[in-house]
Subunit: 142 residues, 2 copies
Amino acid sequence: MKITSRFTVAVHTLLVIHTFGKTEKVTSDFIAASVNVNPVVIRRTLSSLKAAGMIDVKAGSGGARIVKDLESITLYDVYKAVDSVDGGLFHFHENPSPACPVGRNIHAVLDGHLADAQAAMENELKKISLASLTRELQANLP
Amino acid sequence: MKITSRFTVAVHTLLVIHTFGKTEKVTSDFIAASVNVNPVVIRRTLSSLKAAGMIDVKAGSGGARIVKDLESITLYDVYKAVDSVDGGLFHFHENPSPACPVGRNIHAVLDGHLADAQAAMENELKKISLASLTRELQANLP
DNA sequence: CATATTGTAATGTTTGACATTACAACAATG
DNA sequence: CATTGTTGTAATGTCAAACATTACAATATG
């Protein structure tokens, strides 16, 4: 009943690549050490971010690199890239009774409102760019 | 990674009580038949809604009754009453490395934005009253 | 009191997320 | 061109949370 940690892991991953990309070879092991998860989890994350055109990953030699302007990547893009929510955010009970007037119409009555609520959340994510996060990160450094 | 179906079950439950309250004794079995879940699930739901002051349930003799103006109950109130989300909506990876400048600051950078997104969703739920849902339900009846 | 129903504890079942192991494909370097 | 370090990904394991179900005591009403 929560949104997957894949999302925060992916944001973390992008921030690590951005922060260390100039001075280090940013491998899945390197990122995994900062996020504190298994490197394979990071490889899967990298794979999603790559498919979304945000980064480039060198198989074999290793290392990830950002290839899209961070100003143009929003939290929503990352959220979508790693598939944070599969289908609707709300879990609807499966089989309302068609024999009951309420059961028969509950979807018609509720679905739209639930979709609106989900959209409101997602629109909020669209407001935040990765670039602004890197600025906030800078501001927090000692 | 989804919000509990307790929420949609609770909304469904209130609509059933409202729709049939005048003509039938609305027991947990009756509601369970419309929602299509085990009656115990409904009893737990009724328990939460009662604790929130929305309904009254008669132990022993049976039957639930709405005791709060539906105009003044929003989807958000129901969502809160049944505890649809425990803690934050987003699942954060547990142990970012304090040794890494990104790991050390990722919470400071992200937490606020995630809270804002969740709040946007919840504010949307606050806009919808149960009374308006009963009107939509009426409109959908044959 | 007999009956129907609620309240709730205890337990079982299932699903999904996340972790981990394993290894083939691959790219750079000496 | 063999070695080394890394990615890509499949297969499998582990665990927690949601939901279902059983069981029964407590309760109200005719």
